[in-house]
Amino acid sequence: MGSFLAITGALVLAYFVLVNGFQTVLLMSSALELGAYRRRAWGDEPRALLGSEVAPRVSVLAPAFNEQDTIVESVRALLSLRYPNLEVLVVNDGSTDATLANLAAAFELTPVHPIFRRQLETEPVVGLYRSRLHPHLVVINKENGGKADALNAGLNVSSGQLVCALDADSLVEHDALLRMVRPFLADPRVVAVGGTIRVANEADVRYGRVVRSGVPRHYLAGIQTVEYLRAFLFGRLGWNRLGGNLIISGAFGLFDRERVLAAGGYESSTVGEDLELIAKIRRLAHEGSEPGRIEFLPDPIAWTEVPSSLRSLGAQRDRWHRGLADVIWRHRRTIGNPRYGALGTVAMPIFVVIELLAPVVELLGLVVVAIALPLGAVDTTFAWTLLLVAYGWAVLLSVLALVLEELSFRRLGTLADRLRLLLWALLEPFGYRQLTVWWRLRGLVGWLRRRDDWGTMQRRGFSVLADPGV
């Protein structure tokens, strides 16, 4: 028993060093990337692209299912995006409520019949409509097939060289597309660009635009604000220099349409369709010697409402982990395979060891400590000191993310907001972290049992300010 505990403890300790070592590398990579990005972006005006007649056409794809209460406001926000050559495609995925009727009434939809090629198989499209008020708004009405299927229908109909996949309930900053398109113009190898997602639970919204971004007072939403900041500002940014990202959030990403179509579009049979698409594009790029560069940019921002109940959050994390496991399994032959370059030798192994297996190792660590302490198999002082190191490191990473934010984009609101964020960073390792371990373990078991449900997400809605002129 003693030797078993000793070996397990040593393994957990080695894992701890490996994870923290990698995070340090990621942090340094992110700081370098952010510095270079800021140097290039100094004084740049994304608006300069606005009058361009040669800018690539962008089709925004917004799938919607039973969103009768929010759809009109969401679409108004999408229509106010600044871009010179924009098409907005809302895909009504067989809603059973008044989503389509509300759209028809608000935007004076009229039936149209653009000729498009059905390059991706989807559930049948029932009708296509164009707005009389906003000619660049097209609504696709189709039978229900899920988010991936709706995005694929949008891809079939879209006419842009670039497609932007969005959640209909995300609030995208007005100049975000102007920023996101730049990597495509600068490097023909770029096939997808991801932007930052930020938490808008405490934000004030006017005309579909976040006018004040506060840090949530609610425990769960507040901690997720720290988590998102850390994940996007140094997690994904750091990956730009370490072989490219494997994740572009389904809530906000811009893609080369031809490459997505060549990859077969979104996969309907997985709950991690956004991750799966990137893995597939990158894998096919290596197999066919085609372009496959994935970029992440820190300043195009989309705001989203994060779950504020344990039930919704648990369902989300459970689904994310099932999606991760599923995608890694689908693309398992790339793991450690030098043929797939950085995807096979860096990204996939790291995702397996540090993302997929993390909850298992963390649980193992907790069990070992729980058994070893009463048995006296581990020195109490040593255990507590190690715990303090782990805690200190977790807080240090969060604080470094806050510092990077302060030195770069400064979008954290008031001094009170910054202090509140610091408080959430200090509290995150207590309770919240253990809960995420549990949810991710549940997801892993769910994947083994082939569960493929999406769970439910209860939203409270944004705090919408009245028109000051009224």
Partner: protein, 349 residues
């Protein structure tokens, strides 16, 4: 020993966290205080520049109002107004930028050894809309972002030599620079046409450059460019012939239609589709029978273009689409059915 190391790590972490938190909060406080301190001077300068543009203040008064601000902030204040005005007013702001030291400062930066600083200098010049004599050097800068930014600056000074240099940037190894150059040429419009037509005559141009130059002419759409369209309609590169088709459609007229007709049987799908699109764009209904034949083209893009063009031609086009419903070729029948079969507004409303 290990315990000692761990303790040392804990202490270091605590110190580092404290330093970072205090440093971050101090930075936040200082930045905010500076912003607040400058705000009245920025408002005053902006208001003075607005008065200058409406003829209620002199250049000297505007320069005095800007003097209290750091030079980069002066550039920002001027830049925020430059994009909203044109002509004489833009010229006035350029004089202010030169008089208050912004241009001199920016030009100094463009001569720096550090690429980041050269980029900053060029960006300030673009923001205030001043193209200095050093622009020639900036267009050849070793760092692509500087060349791209300099390309955008040419809009403010379309001297033939600079335009030729800008056209040269269409063959830049960096795609961001190529895009910036093409965008700038299109924005320059008619003022660069002479150089564009001259350059098109050069033999050593690549396909990409030639197609980009034709696109510039498409946006100007002048009937005097028809000989260019005719000449390049028989080029050996399909992207160039596509450009010629678009130029013919943009120019129009009997001669334009003649060029388009020759391209309807081009071996390249994209060229045929562009020619058919051109007929649709012109609404040239006498071509409907010829275009209807293309409904059975082997390429989907051509069939789609034919369907769309016939629809745009109105009644004659629809007549040919109806006839195509009985076409022996199933693809022609399918395309005609798709174009004619307008769905009804079902669940909506």
């Amino acid at each position: 020993m290990i315990l000692e190391v761990l303790r040392l790590i804990v202490v270091s972490q605590a110190v580092l966290i404290a330093v970072l938190v205090v440093g971050s909060l101090t930075h936040s406080f200082v930045t905010e205080a500076t912003r607040r301190r400058r705000q009245p001077a920025i408002s005053q300068a902006t208001s003075m520049l607005a008065r200058l543009l409406s003829g209620q203040a002199t250049v000297e008064e505007a320069v005095v109002a800007l003097q209290d601000l750091p030079v980069t902030v002066r550039g920002e204040v001027l830049g925020s107004l430059v994009t909203t005005v044109r002509g004489e007013q833009q010229h006035l702001l350029a004089i202010v930028a030169a008089s208050c030291g912004v241009v001199e400062h920016a030009v100094g930066w463009t001569q720096s050894r550090r690429p980041g600083r050269r980029l900053r200098g060029t960006r300030i010049l673009r923001r205030v809309g001043v193209a200095p004599p050093e622009l020639t050097t900036l267009l050849e800068d070793p760092w692509p972002p500087v060349r791209a930014e300099a390309s955008r600056l040419v809009i403010h000074r379309t001297a033939p030599r600079l335009v030729r240099q800008l056209i040269g940037r269409l063959a830049d190894p960096d795609s961001g620079v190529r895009f910036a150059a093409k965008d700038a040429l299109v924005r320059c419009g008619a003022s660069v046409v002479t150089e564009v037509v001259e350059e098109l005559g050069a033999d050593e141009l690549t396909t990409e450059v030639r197609a980009a130059l034709l696109e510039v002419l498409v946006h100007v759409a002048d009937s005097s460019h028809l000989p260019v369209a005719r000449r390049f309609s028989s080029d050996h590169d399909p992207p160039v012939r596509r450009g010629a088709a678009r130029l013919s459609a943009a120019v129009g007229g009997t001669a334009g239609v003649t060029v388009l007709s020759t391209l309807l049987t081009d071996p390249d799908d994209g060229v045929r589709a562009a020619a058919i699109d051109g007929f649709g764009q012109l609404g040239y209904w006498p071509a409907a029978p010829t275009i209807a034949e293309r409904l059975s083209d082997p390429a989907w893009v051509v069939r789609r273009a034919a369907g769309g063009a016939l629809r745009r031609m109105g009644a004659p086009g629809r007549l040919f689409l109806r006839r195509a419903l009985d076409h022996e070729d199933p693809y022609a029948r399918d395309m005609a059915r798709q174009v004619l079969d307008l769905p009804e507004l079902r669940a909506a409303g």
